[in-house]
Symmetry: C6
Subunit: 78 residues, 6 copies
């Protein structure tokens, strides 16, 4: 279970586009974690997220939405 | 049931990106609550939101959309 | 059935973020109403919108998309 | 079947927010029509779009996405 | 199968909003084609895209997302 | 399995709109890869992504979202 005061998102700014993409994937995972903080239940669901094609496509879509936010925050690393 | 005049969203401005992400998750919950204000019915549905992989992915996607709005409101905490 | 010339959306401007969120939910309902103006058919479908977890999540997602539009219109109530 | 050279979208500009919302719904229908121009097949599918709760929610979501575009085009009718 | 060096998207700029909408639909088709370049497999799947209500709604939604991009590129044909 | 330090996304800038679209499709694939880095499991799921109509539509939708980001980064290749 996440520590209540743990800082896991200090900033949206990243050095490169690729790091921004990795942060987008992290945000997607945190969205699921926030909706279900109990790690035991999450563990049981993990196969859906990582071994089910539709679950993986959903994860990829959420990452794409988050990447829009992060890319704008970084002025698209231009 | 939510008090009719209760103020639960005074502002979109948050101090940090992480607080903005937490507000995004709160907004997602309020979207469901607004569509079904009866707390007894909501309670029966809760397992879908918190223990069903696809329900959790949907919640995470809604949070990602709300986070776009909140991040823009905060000028991405730059 | 909605009066053909009824004005139900005079403006996207609201006084507060919370009123903007409520307008977003109203827009989501109007989207469904516009696609099916027959109130009798809508009544039969209502349980899906309000008592089915996936229906509620879909409604919440549409509200989140509409809230993006309304928040931008209001310059995020900054 | 739509005339090949018929002009059905001369502009995204509308006088009011409500007319913009109605245009958003029209665009959603045109999206489906463009993917399946055969009117006989469309007629058979119509019950899904207008009497199936999930079909109506999908239509409403597409309208919400189109409304974002139209609202931006109209500078949110500010 | 698409020629490897074929240019099918020279620009996002179109003369009118309607041409922009048609380009949005073309982009949606190209998205599917890019994920499955084998034309024989695509042919077998075609009935889902054009005769299945949910498939048509998905296509319409993708077109709506692409239309956002194209409309912004054209400064909304203002 | 992807090398941990491999640079696969050096920039969002592309010469043409079409190259931007191809990058959008690459990003969609990387989103799935990041959620499931085990190449053996990915191989088993591949038929869903490339031979299932709904899987292809989901892929196309993710590409459309990524294309929004890339098009904005490139100022729409205007």
């Amino acid at each position: 279970m996440m520590e209540k005061n743990e800082i896991w998102l200090p900033t949206l700014i990243t050095k490169t586009a690729q790091e921004g993409f990795e942060l987008a994937i992290k945000l997607s995972r945190m969205g699921v974690k926030s909706a279900q903080p109990n790690i035991e239940i999450l563990k049981k669901l993990r196969p859906v997220y990582s071994e089910d094609a539709n679950g993986l496509l959903s994860s990829s879509q959420i990452a794409a939405i988050n990447f829009q936010t992060i890319a704008a925050a970084n002025n698209y690393w231009r």
